[in-house]
């Protein structure tokens, strides 16, 4: 063995261990393979474990039957979306990412000279009543156009209304996980369900923190934030097709270029590339405009503020942009809205530009699809279909004070005072207990997981499969355990924070 235990075992213990006779018949290959894959029911697993504790041959078989470390690592890498947290690495990554964000902010906030061709457009945009961020123009690179005519008042109000509606659909789950936001967006697309975890109090990294990772953001979102400074991801926009039809040359160029330039680049309506033309002719349904300020501030849990465009908004958006590229075309455009602050701001700009060009609003004002939001309020899980205006209690279990709820698509998880994780696969219509601390942890390994009152204090899912959960055990020896899952919560593995 390569590791030497810190506490050596007395020889008498080793001898008596060896002397214990194998209990019961040898399990067959089906049982052993199911044991190795951790798919046996608790009772069967206990029986097999009992035999394995006394039978060296079966232990050897299990060891040989386990996937090799290299294979396991490869399969884990291929399955994993980077969600497994390594706390120490995540901490350093968060610090490095925060430093990179600061550097990016400094660079972005540098005043860039605006070319003459943009001067008029910049003045027009500034004159618009659409809330503009109190940031230097170079931050978004697009705060240069507006409409100066009174004809735009109505369109601006429509846009503002759309922004306000769409800004409230941001899922708390998207705060910090690029993939999560993408999936949440997809979930919105498919089922119109978002999970709005309450009171993400720790927003040290702005939009990139979650209720679970206190000040620690997954590397993926940080990478997205870092990449956001460049803002190169194109976005399928709603009115691109109409724009292409109405005034193909100028509008398409405007639409396309709005999404392909970096914040530091000047706007050049005439620089239309082939790829941008394709982008402009996309048949995607329109997405409502949402301002970056509102998106980012909502992500921070604050009240929507009309003024500022936080620097994080750029990076926050771009990490999701690529995900939404593959989102299916559908009537739900919240996929594109969620977290896409720079593109959305571009949309507002493009809208103004189109208005300026064609004199009419190209972005349709159709009502947004109804989205479901989730929250825990006074120990009860609640659901809202009117964007948080009214909430309905969801009956899950009696005498349980719920503390956390998470959703991804139609999958919803909730847990609370009894340390039982409840799950619904149909948007909360029916629920079933999925995992229990007492049954699945304490009963299996009581020395490790003490039999004491426990509660689930944190549930986070980045998608339908990958999630994490924190369980706090009360009593004389309070402890906290951190579990992760890669199968939607069917099985949980403890992760140590070393």
């Amino acid at each position: 063995m390569s590791e030497v235990p810190k506490i050596p075992i007395p020889s008498i213990v080793r001898e008596r261990l060896r002397a214990v006779a194998a209990s019961g018949p040898h399990p067959d290959a089906n049982l052993l393979s199911a044991f190795a894959e951790n798919t046996l029911p608790v009772a069967d697993r206990a029986k097999v474990m009992d035999h394995l504790a006394t039978c060296a041959d079966c232990r050897n078989i299990i060891t040989f039957a386990m996937p090799q470390i290299e294979e396991a690592a490869v399969s884990a890498r291929s399955r994993s979306t980077g969600f497994r947290l390594r706390w120490a690495t995540a901490r350093w990554s968060a610090l490095a990412a925060a430093a990179a964000v600061l550097v990016a902010v400094v660079i972005i906030y540098q005043v860039q000279p605006v070319p003459e061709s943009n001067m008029n457009l910049a003045a027009e945009r500034k004159a618009a009543t659409v809330p503009q961020p109190k940031t230097p123009p170079a931050e978004n690179g697009l705060a240069q156009t507006t409409t100066a005519t009174t004809d735009n008042e109505k369109q601006r109000k429509d846009i503002q209304r759309e922004k306000e509606l769409a800004s409230n659909t941001i899922s708390a789950n998207t705060r910090g996980f690029g993939r999560q936001a993408g999936v949440a967006g997809k979930a919105l697309d498919e089922n119109g369900v978002t999970a709005d975890l309450e009171a993400s109090k720790d927003q040290k990294l702005g939009a990139s923190t979650s209720t679970g990772a206190k000040g620690i953001a997954p590397q993926q979102s940080q990478a997205g934030m870092i990449a956001g400074g460049a803002m190169a991801a194109p976005v399928q926009i709603a009115s691109a097709k109409e724009a292409a039809k109405s005034d193909a040359g100028t509008n398409s160029a405007a639409v396309a270029n709005a999404f392909s330039i970096s914040p530091r680049d000047s706007f050049k309506p005439s620089s239309l590339t082939a790829s941008n033309a394709n982008l402009a002719s996309s048949n995607r349904a329109p997405a409502p405009s949402v301002s970056a300020p509102q998106l980012a501030s909502k992500a921070r849990g604050a009240q929507p503020q009309p003024a500022p465009a936080p620097p994080e908004a750029y990076g926050y958006g771009n990490s999701f942009a690529k995900k939404t590229e593959t989102a299916p075309s559908s009537t739900s455009e919240t996929v594109e809205v969620t977290g896409q602050s720079p593109q959305v701001q571009s949309r507002a700009y493009v809208t103004q530009l189109q208005l300026h060009e064609s004199g009419k609003l190209a972005v349709p004002t159709a009502s947004l699809p109804v989205l479901a939001k989730w929250r825990v309020h006074k120990g009860r899980v609640q659901q809202s279909f009117d964007n948080g205006v009214s909430w309905n209690d969801v009956k899950i279990a009696k005498a349980v004070a719920f503390r956390q709820v998470a959703a991804a698509g139609s999958q919803v998880w909730a847990g609370g005072s009894n340390a039982v994780l409840y799950h619904s696969s149909d948007n909360g219509q029916t629920w079933s207990p999925l995992w229990s601390y007492a049954r699945d942890a304490s009963a299996k390994a009581g020395y490790r997981y003490p039999k004491a009152p426990a509660s689930i204090t944190e549930i986070i899912f980045s998608g339908e499969r990958y999630g994490q959960m924190r369980v706090k055990v009360r009593g004389k020896d309070p402890q906290e355990f951190f579990f992760t899952t890669s199968d939607g919560g069917q099985t949980w593995h403890e992760e140590t924070i070393d």
């Binding site: 007395p10 261990l17 393979s33 798919t39 386990m66 020395y447």
Partner: protein, 296 residues
């Protein structure tokens, strides 16, 4: 399956099995619905009580890997489409696993080829309908993945081969290899305190099966923490902490038992920590006369 057994099946069983047959797309392996239902009845007969309800039966069956079960049964029946699918999915994996187990290319290929023969059913066995294929795939019940089952079968075959080869190694070969033949272990002069053995047995019996498994795997088999962690599905640092805690707890319980048996705490600690078999006393050196300069 006997006609009598078929006739005793509940009425809900056939529609349930037919539905599962369609869901797992067993037909594309060439498996008939009758063979599939027969397999399910056989599994239910072994694993479920005879009076199991429809819900319990359906819940159990839906927990199985029905698609892989259908593939295994179709292969056992000799359907070409099934074997094409099986080889596509598992041929490379089997060789990789065999290589990983044997750590030798030729032995690994030999192991994998021998398994293929058993899976294909090269041996014939007498059956009701005459000689039938004796494919090992008939023993797969779908509780775990087919890949995991194949790994386990390979591991079992490897261990069996190893045992057979050990028995067949000649004494001359061992002598040439330099092995020294030692006498059988004699009974130690001091077998240790009987109270200590009893206290240790009692403390070990009070441990859970997982704890005893970890102790055996680590201290007897010499498995690494990472290997044990993978077996139990936890991180190796968790195993390290658990082992320390278990050993510490074990020690406490043994001492408590010894003290309860009448030993003083100091004596109990000494009995536990000092095992005469662990003492490395060089008797020859101690019996050798001292050098002349030290003599008076």
């Amino acid at each position: 399956m006997d006609a009598a057994v078929k006739s005793a099946s509940p009425a809900w069983q056939k529609p349930l099995f037919d539905g599962l047959f369609r869901e797992c797309q067993a037909a594309r392996f060439g498996l008939s619905v009758e063979d599939f239902c027969c397999a399910l009845r056989e599994i239910c007969g072994k694993q479920l009580p005879s009076a199991a309800s429809r819900e319990d039966t359906e819940r159990y069956l839906r927990g199985l890997r029905l698609n892989e079960l259908a593939l295994a049964r179709a292969c056992a029946a000799g359907h070409d489409a099934a074997w094409t699918e099986f080889l596509t999915r598992y041929r490379g994996m089997l060789y990789q696993v065999a290589l990983g187990i044997t750590r030798d290319d030729s032995r690994g290929r030999e192991l994998a080829d021998s398994i293929y023969a058993e899976l294909y059913g090269m041996k014939l066995r007498e059956g009701v309908d005459g000689n039938a294929r004796a494919s090992k795939l008939l023993f797969y019940t779908g509780r775990g993945s087919l890949e995991g089952w194949l790994r386990t079968v390979l591991a079992q075959e490897h261990i069996n081969r190893y045992r057979r080869e050990r028995r067949l190694v000649s004494l001359e070969e061992e002598t040439e290899a330099g092995m020294q033949f030692v006498a059988a272990d004699q009974e130690p002069a001091n077998a240790g305190d009987p109270h200590l053995a009893a206290a240790t047995d009692k403390a070990l019996a009070e441990l859970g099966s997982e704890e005893r498994f970890m102790l055996a795997a680590y201290f007897l088999d010499g498995r690494t923490l990472a290997e044990i962690g993978r077996m139990l599905g936890v991180h190796e640092s968790t195993i390290s902490r658990k082992l320390e805690r278990v050993v510490h707890e074990l020690r406490k319980r043994i001492l408590k038992s010894l003290i309860h048996a009448g030993m003083s705490s100091r004596a109990a600690e000494e009995a536990l920590d000092i095992d005469v078999r662990d003492l490395a006393i060089n008797v020859r050196q101690r019996l050798r006369p001292p050098p002349e300069e030290e003599r008076v």
